[in-house]
């Protein structure tokens, strides 16, 4: 018997993945359907010498995690629905101050209190545009319990490597699903740690970058470098600057961290796309129905394939464009009233037909609904 097989819930697997990646701090606030993230962290972290704290609200949850990350600990906060809205301001703060952080959003039905126990994928655009101002965004979307583990490790890796908040944009389907998971062994998955600056540098500039890099080596608080961190536009010293030239330079660099590393960040999965006439694009829990639908369509003699972005943001533009030139149609399936489909439309222009199937009533998309829509689009 292989001891690495476990029956586990998605939210639990997320915390197992976080601990595998080296998470040592979690702060949050109870909210359905993500509370298991906190409950699991509360059990596991003190056993590893790490810290867990239940804060007084969602904003405190993300603020404490950013503070902890500034001292060098890999930190996470998690939430759902309304809580994700409340965390938006400080997601922008982590982006401009370049503090590594993983924010998990187990999506539920909205708007407002909406359908707290039902699945949805309605926060896709909020993940991209939720915080004010232009800012870099990385968001990942897991489709299985095993992927909750793997993509959480990846979320930490990307956060540490690019010094930016990374959103694990999961949904209630995957968060509450229980299925078999083969637990990765130590060393099986790559784990990346942030780069700390070499000690005792004279005239240390926390926000300066080396030639060819867009990522500064910011020291952890308490390690001997005394510097300033602010959410105001700042220069290489970290101190506020009102200079328009400086603001442009800082924003360009923040955006370039992501845009110039898309190949590294973007990840997706494909199923039977080679000869497909219709590509069904789905992510997260919905992709499971998409795969069933593709199999059914193939049985019926229709050449269907699945494209499943694991990296939701940045958008896998290059591959989607290629697929639009190869297939007759693309069908986007998502648990909302049409969000990601807008991005697909922008990218594929009129290269092929475009269809959409979605809903936001608290039910999951069933394979039959997707299959029927696929036939209609073709």
């Amino acid at each position: 018997m292989n001891n690495n097989f476990k029956l586990m819930q998605g939210n639990e697997a997320c915390i197992e993945g976080a601990l595998y990646a080296g998470m040592r701090f979690y702060s949050g606030y109870p909210i359905t359907p993500s509370t298991e993230l906190m409950e699991k962290s509360a059990v596991r972290l003190p056993l590893k010498g790490g810290k867990f704290i239940q804060m007084e609200d969602e904003i405190g949850g993300i603020a404490a995690a950013i503070g902890a990350s500034l001292t060098g600990l890999k930190s996470m906060t998690g939430t759902s629905g309304p809580g994700f809205s409340l965390k938006q301001e400080n997601i922008g703060y982590a982006a401009i101050t370049e503090v590594p952080l993983v924010v998990v959003n187990i999506q539920r039905g909205g708007p407002s209190t909406g359908l707290p126990t039902s699945p949805a994928q309605g926060d896709v655009m909020q993940a991209m545009w939720g915080t004010h101002g232009d800012h870099p965004v990385i968001a990942l979307s897991p489709s299985s319990v095993r992927e909750m583990f793997e993509l959480t490790v990846r979320a930490f890796n990307l956060a540490e490597k690019y010094r930016t908040p990374v959103i694990l944009l999961a949904d209630e389907i995957v968060g509450h699903m229980r299925e078999k998971i083969v637990m990765p062994k130590a060393g099986e998955l790559e784990v990346i740690d942030r780069k700390e600056p070499a000690p005792n540098q004279e005239n240390y500039l926390p926000y300066a970058v080396e030639e060819g890099s867009h990522v500064p080596e910011i020291a952890s608080f308490g390690k001997g470098y005394r510097f300033h961190v602010t959410g105001l536009m700042h220069d290489e010293t970290g101190f506020p600057s009102n200079s328009t030239e400086n603001a442009e330079k800082l924003l360009d660099r923040l955006m370039a961290k992501i845009s110039e590393n898309k190949e590294d960040i973007i990840d997706f999965d494909e199923y039977m796309t080679e000869d497909a006439d219709i590509i069904i694009l789905g992510y997260g829990g919905t992709a499971r129905s998409v795969k069933s639908s593709v199999k059914e369509l193939r049985k019926q003699g229709i050449k269907a394939g699945m494209f499943r972005p694991k990296t939701i943001w940045p958008f896998p533009e290059k591959r989607v464009k290629e697929l639009s030139l190869q297939a007759k149609a693309i069908l986007v399936a998502e648990l909302n009233l049409g969000q990601y489909v807008l991005e697909v439309e922008r990218v594929i222009k009129n290269n092929c037909k475009l269809g959409f199937v979605g809903k936001a009533n608290g039910e999951v998309l069933m394979p039959d609904e997707i299959t029927a829509k696929a036939k209609e689009v073709l």
């Binding site: 590893k48 810290k51 405190g60 902890a68 101190f239």
Partner: protein, 275 residues
Amino acid sequence: MASALIEKYMRSDKFPHMWCPGCGHGIIMRSIIEAIDRLGLEKDKVCVVSGIGCSSRAPGYMDFNTLHTTHGRALPFATGIKLANPDLHVIVVSGDGDSSAIGGNHLIHAARRNIDITTIVFNNNIYGMTGGQYSPTTPTNYFGTTAPYGNIDRSFDIAQLAGAAGATYTARSTVFHVPQLTNYIEKALNKKGFSLVEAISTCPTSFGRRNKKGDAVDMIKWLRDSAVTVTKASKMSAEELDGKFTIGEFKDTEAPEYVEQYEKLIERLKGEDDE
């Protein structure tokens, strides 16, 4: 003395500071560094966290690990820092609006936890940075741009609020009573637990002007004449106390400190199965 303190603890290359002429905030900032100096805290081990507002610009001038966060959120950021690295002396600098309006919930919960953080509230009774809107500490009947007919709200007593919520050291002084203010900050920094010192400051630009308080010197004299010690106040009638405020120490007690309790929990769990 002042210049030696400046040399040792201030980022003087960041001067001139951004505060208006006559602002009392510089006096409080100086009291903080003098208290740090008296205690001999290692600069690398001091972390000063602020929110948003005039007061919250102070950390930028202070040569420690400094963090200027989002409006009202200095305390939860500081909570994360202290819990993650208990070796750091964590000080929060906040204004009256920052700490008791938008950040009021964080204030009472940091006090409830009794986490080892010292909060210095720079209370100038107004939202200065945004141009003079009334704050939770603007006295009733005073004027602000959003209280053009006189403020009908009642005001908070921040020091007493923190004490009631569980802080183990609370005190109030003013930018007139500087030696007392410095002593209170020193005692607050020395307290293992959540401590809060409310420092009544002056804002001639946004509070004084609209409320006919005269210039900066007049305002400081106003603090001198309006402040009543806790002892004296206990013997005064309500009429006599009208228009006055109390200064002094309100609370100095001992209670289990949050981070220490967490460290004990980790210790207690040692050797237990991690899976």
